[in-house]
């Protein structure tokens, strides 16, 4: 059931016939991605899910132009991935918050603005606004080592949003957080995305996380990384993604559907799927 539920006109990311092979010395090359097709519309939240080694992070890195495809094409807002990167069309967050330890929280959020020549006055206003958005207004002068993991990750998200990108790329940003912090961060991400209207490509290996956050869940298999199916994940009856949605029948139905797809692959993949995916 491949569908394209466009919430706004225009596409943010277009991936066509994409393959990525990591050459290895003795000829047994690793085919990380094979013939991947994916379209992400503007303002849409798309999750990539699959067991470890299915190439979902590689796909994200190729969209971010941190890695190059072996074959196929990537366009971001109608431009090449490289041009989109140079134009700062996306913000990015990783599993590690990746804050610079010698910079205060405010200076960390200001880093991209500083590198791209925003004036110090405008920078200060924008940083205050962003820290308010992620709920860390009181921590502007703290240093990363004084913050909890969840707070650090919120700083990283604020930094990714600094230049108001229309696309957010997130590589398991909540992967290292405990379950309680994680659910709260998911709720905040839904709110932030609604406020900024950015499209999101979100890599995860938690099925409930993908279903809770996404308009569409892209289910992938490992070696070679392929898309098995793309599952629509509509919000609850009241049209809101909140804690009630986590208890809704539709939520459980979609979780079951994604799990079935992950486990129901060809026999060889089933073992890897059980090992690599969290079913929490």
């Amino acid at each position: 059931m491949i569908s394209s539920s466009t919430t706004e006109s225009g596409t943010a990311v277009e991936v066509a016939g994409l393959s990525r092979v990591f050459p290895r010395r003795r000829g047994d090359d690793v085919r990380a991605l094979e013939d991947v097709q994916l379209t992400v519309s503007q303002g849409e939240f798309v999750s990539l899910i699959g067991p470890s080694g299915c190439g979902k992070s590689t796909l994200l890195r190729i969209i971010a132009d941190l890695d190059a495809p072996t074959a196929g094409s990537v366009t971001v807002f109608g431009k090449s991935a490289q041009q989109a990167r140079l134009d700062q069309d996306y913000g990015i967050a990783f599993q590690q918050a990746g804050l610079l330890p010698w910079r205060s929280v405010a200076d960390n959020v200001a880093l991209p603005l500083e590198l791209h020549g925003t004036g110090s006055r405008a920078r200060k206003d924008r940083v205050a606004e962003l820290l308010e958005l992620v709920g860390l207004g009181d921590f502007a002068r703290a240093y990363p080592d004084e913050l909890s993991g969840g707070m650090q990750q919120r700083v990283a998200i604020a930094r990714a949003l600094a230049e108001s990108p229309r696309l957010l790329l997130m590589d398991e940003p909540f992967g290292a957080l405990d379950e309680i912090t994680r659910e709260r961060m998911q709720g905040e991400l839904v709110r932030i995305c609604a406020e900024t209207g950015a499209a999101v490509v979100f890599v995860t290996h938690s099925i409930p996380e993908a279903v809770f956050l996404s308009d569409r869940v892209v289910v992938m298999t490992p070696r070679p990384g392929r898309i098995i199916d793309i599952v629509d994940s509509g919000p609850g009856d009241d049209g809101r993604r909140d804690d009630d949605f986590r208890d809704a029948a539709g939520f459980f139905h979609t979780v079951a559907r994604v799990r079935e797809l992950l486990h129901g692959g060809p026999g060889a993949h089933a073992v890897a799927a059980i090992r690599g995916v969290e079913n929490r």
Partner: protein, 292 residues
């Protein structure tokens, strides 16, 4: 208040350490056999005669004695003091040259793989050449340099030799430091479309500070040693190195005298290491990651 107390405690501990050392010296001198402790024909602990181990108070009071019986003007202390300043100045110049050269080499090696594979083996090899061998060479090559009215002096040779020892820990430490940023940080800089040189300034240099500070301290100690040894092997007057040789010759009649410039050299080393400690304090924000 508690900070002042802690400082006082540290000063007391330091003084106690020195006193313990002096006490151990006197205790061994009083209790040890006068011919030293021998295993077979090998002396494993020194003789305890006044000639080999003068009393601590004799060493201390020596500083206020006149240098020799003919000139009643200068004391040993004032001569050692000015020699220490002389040596400290030369080794400071050597340290600065060594740090600059070491940093430049490290940046080149971090930037170009080819530079690393071409230079690193030679940098390691350079430290295996005995200092005694290169000191006269440096002086001979230097003496042929005349730029305008400026003429290469033996002092310059000594500083260059000190730099020769000092650059090594800096080059190796800084290279490790420049390579230390996480992959996430480097990806981030790439995503921002920032080039290598700006990444150097914004990311690589700041994150190399925890690696750089021990290297700078090591370089300070090395440059003091290099200066003293170079003073001896070049035969430059005015520094502690020369004084150690000079006073050693009068050890027969005046056994406490050679210890004065030796303690002076120790003091120079402590001052040099302390100066780097001050740099460490200034770089405090960049050391936040060190504890974890």
């Amino acid at each position: 208040m508690s900070r002042a107390l802690r400082l006082l405690g540290r000063i007391l501990l330091g003084t106690l350490g020195v006193l313990l050392l002096a006490g151990a010296w006197e205790a061994y001198k009083a209790l040890g056999p006068s011919n030293g402790v021998l295993i077979g024909d090998t002396t494993v602990l020194p003789r305890t005669t006044d000639l080999a181990m003068p009393h601590v108070w004799e060493i201390v009071t020596k500083f206020s004695d006149p240098v020799n019986s003919f000139s009643g003007t200068d004391t040993v202390g004032s001569v050692v003091w000015s020699a220490c300043l002389f040596t400290l100045k030369l080794s400071a110049i050597g340290w600065v040259i060594g740090v600059v050269v070491g940093l430049v080499l490290a940046v080149l090696m971090a930037r170009f793989r080819l530079a690393e594979s071409a230079m690193l083996p030679w940098i390691v090899l350079s430290q295996t050449v005995p200092l005694i061998a290169i000191a006269p060479l440096v002086r001979r090559w230097g003496s042929q340099i005349h730029i305008g009215g400026w003429v290469w002096s033996s002092e310059n040779s000594v500083s260059v030799i000190a730099a020769y020892l000092a650059f090594f820990p800096v080059a190796v430490g800084a290279l490790r430091g420049l390579r230390s940023p996480d992959a996430t940080h480097l990806d981030l800089m790439h995503a921002y479309g920032v080039g290598w040189w700006r990444t150097l300034v914004k990311l690589r240099l700041p994150s190399s500070v925890p690696y750089l500070l021990p290297a700078l301290r090591l370089a300070a100690a090395s440059s003091v040693i290099g200066t003293v040894v170079a003073e001896v092997s070049i035969g430059l007057r005015g520094g502690v190195g020369r004084l150690i040789i000079e006073y050693a010759q009068s050890a027969g009649g005046d056994p406490a005298k050679p210890w004065a410039p030796i303690l002076g050299a120790v003091a120079v080393g402590l001052v040099a290491a302390g100066a780097v400690g001050v740099i460490g304090l200034l770089c405090r924000p960049y050391r936040r990651g060190e504890a974890t």
